[in-house]
Amino acid sequence: MAKDLVEFRNLETHFKTSAGTVKAVNDVSFSIREGETLCVVGESGCGKSVTAMSLMQLIESPPGKIVGGEIMFEGKDLLKLSKKEMSRLRGNEIAMIFQEPMSSLNPVFTIGKQITEPLLYHLTMTQKEAKARAIELITMVGIPRPEKIFDSYPHELSGGMRQRIMIAIALSCNPKLLIADEPTTALDVTIQAQILDLMRDIKTKMNTAIMMITHDLGVVAEMADFVVVMYAGKVIEEAPVLELFREPRHPYTQGLLKAKPIINQRQERLYSIPGQVPNPVDLGENCHFHDRCEFCMEICKVKAPPLRAHIDGHKTACWLYEEEGKAQ
């Protein structure tokens, strides 16, 4: 098995809000191995983007703060690096495709300027080299008339084009770790397929590890080697992809897999997990899923289940699989 490239160790990231502290990431641990594609899935608002932003150290502070844990990258704790060391890694060895392309592209600069900047800064190319490389990158992500696009502003591009510009920027410096937060949501399926192929390509050629956040279980099935499922700031299940789809163990994961509409198998109504995510401000010491869970037992309401491997490489945080739970 490949070496760990990244290891989140008991990461805790909180936000101070007028209503109280939001424990957006609440004791999260998992690893990403070299050259591996790891997909993170989970309920909207469960802390996927905040986990990724914590690694990038782009959490807006205040109100946000990493209050505990370590994020190891090639053996060093990223949280201990100076601002300067971190910014040297960012966009170079670690690149990220952000969830909302419009808010991460600067509206007042041309696309060309935004793509060439990291090339000039990290790879110390000349203006001319950088422009040629930028045109090549724009073409690579499947956007026509690259010379025109180079001189365009973000608002002149469609949603999917902006998303692909973000992808081009992220790929420009051959990162060791690529974080992709919903990288293909604005893309139609043929371009999505093309982008996924591109990512697979750089993964095999450069041995890039990919942390991909997506809610599209079809994309997970195609891309992931390993899957992490989050719920209300915690990892509740993790397993190799085949294993997870064959035998999802946590009731939340089971619900997710049931809710996906599948082509040519239309149902009258789509299954959706009943109830609401709990208010992140007052999370108790219990299973955060308990009030939506059809298997909820007494212990679930009062004690948080540990994340534990009951099968090799497949971890679950649910009392159904613990002795204490079985006794009930």
Binding site: S44, S49, P144, P261, L270
Partner: protein, 336 residues
């Protein structure tokens, strides 16, 4: 795909058959300027002569390549930007000919859920207030009753009352998307342009929103133009679907007909590229060759010919006729 043709239609019939929105030969070009004097040197033909009708109570799906003009159609249809040519009728009235005050009145009946939820929200306004804003602007609800309406709407969109006083940046991507949906639904509109409304939602909440949209459609005869690249969602929700490529409608048919019998090679490629949620399955995809052509300088003949696996000489020379091949199934291809 034809083995799945025998299937009961579980969606209700989809509308009264009475047209609500009629789009005729709609064109929207964006000028390209260049040179020292920033003269117009050409046009991006974002929407290039598109016609379709959406009946009252119907959900019309629009799919197609990124950049093919879907959002531009949605915006032009609501007159959020002006048109270059053609017409849009809403309830029989030519929208682009209405006066400002007539348009303002009409606005409450037509809503849009924007594709990029963040840029459509003012960062300094609490989301509860943002959701209720238009109700007050149009004098539909008094200031003191608005909060209750907002919270009720937030709840049906899967948001909670404690979200009312928060600011947009405090939300996750999917939560912001639901703010956009709440903002449109609260107006009790007759027609909604939903531009990728569920793309950032996890599947369970996506299912909840889709069930909600489909309930509103049957209970209130709500009509949708539903733009999405997720064909499984489109198949589930829409009564009819149009497939666009480079500013042009390539195929349009009732949903079942389109999915069981896609005729256009581009539609076939789209269908083959849908990722299936099963990691043990490895399917053959139709990979489209060649670069995506520029909408400023679209290919001659059939706009798809540069990437079409079936293209022959006639495709380069002649624009294929967009015709009805039966069962209300329209297609523009020389070989369909």
């Amino acid at each position: 795909m034809s083995e799945s043709a025998v299937q009961v239609d579980t969606r209700h019939s989809g509308g009264t058959g009475e047209p609500l929105v009629q789009v005729e030969n709609l064109k929207k070009y964006f000028p390209i300027t260049g040179g020292v004097f920033q003269r117009r040197v050409g046009d991006v033909k974002a929407v290039d002569g598109v016609s379709f009708t959406i009946n009252k109570g119907e959900s019309f799906g629009l799919v197609g390549e990124s950049g093919c003009g879907k959002s531009t159609i949605g915006r032009t249809l609501l007159r959020l930007n002006d048109k270059t040519d053609g017409s849009v009728h809403f309830e029989g009235q030519d929208l682009h000919k209405l006066s400002k005050s007539e348009l303002r009145k009409m606005r409450t009946k037509m809503q849009i859920v924007f594709q990029d939820p963040f840029s459509s929200l003012n960062p300094r306004i609490k989301v509860g207030e943002a959701i209720g804003e238009a109700l007050i602007d149009h004098g539909l609800v008094s200031r003191k009753d608005v909060k209750e309406r907002v919270i009720e709407t937030m709840k049906i969109c899967g948001l909670a009352d404690y979200h009312y006083d928060r600011f947009p940046h405090e939300f996750s991507g999917g939560q912001r998307q639901r703010i956009g949906i709440a903002r449109a639904l609260i107006m009790n509109p007759e027609f909604i342009v939903a531009d990728e409304p569920v793309s950032a939602l996890d599947v369970s909440i996506q299912a909840q929103i889709i069930n909600l949209l489909s309930d509103l459609q049957s209970e209130k005869q709500l009509t949708y133009l539903f733009i999405s690249h997720d064909l499984s969602v489109v198949e589930h929700l829409c009564n009819r679907v149009g497939v666009m490529y480079l500013g042009t409608m390539m195929e349009m048919a009732p949903t079942d007909e389109l999915f069981s019998n896609p005729l256009h090679p581009y539609t076939k490629a789209l269908m083959s590229a849908i990722p299936v949620p099963d990691p043990t399955l490895k399917r053959e995809r139709i990979v489209l060759q060649g670069d995506i052509p520029s909408p400023a300088n679209p290919p001659s003949g059939c706009k798809f010919h540069t990437r079409c696996p079936m293209a022959s000489d006639i495709c380069k020379e002649q624009v294929p006729e967009y015709r009805n091949v039966g069962n209300e199934h329209f297609v523009a291809c020389h070989f369909a």
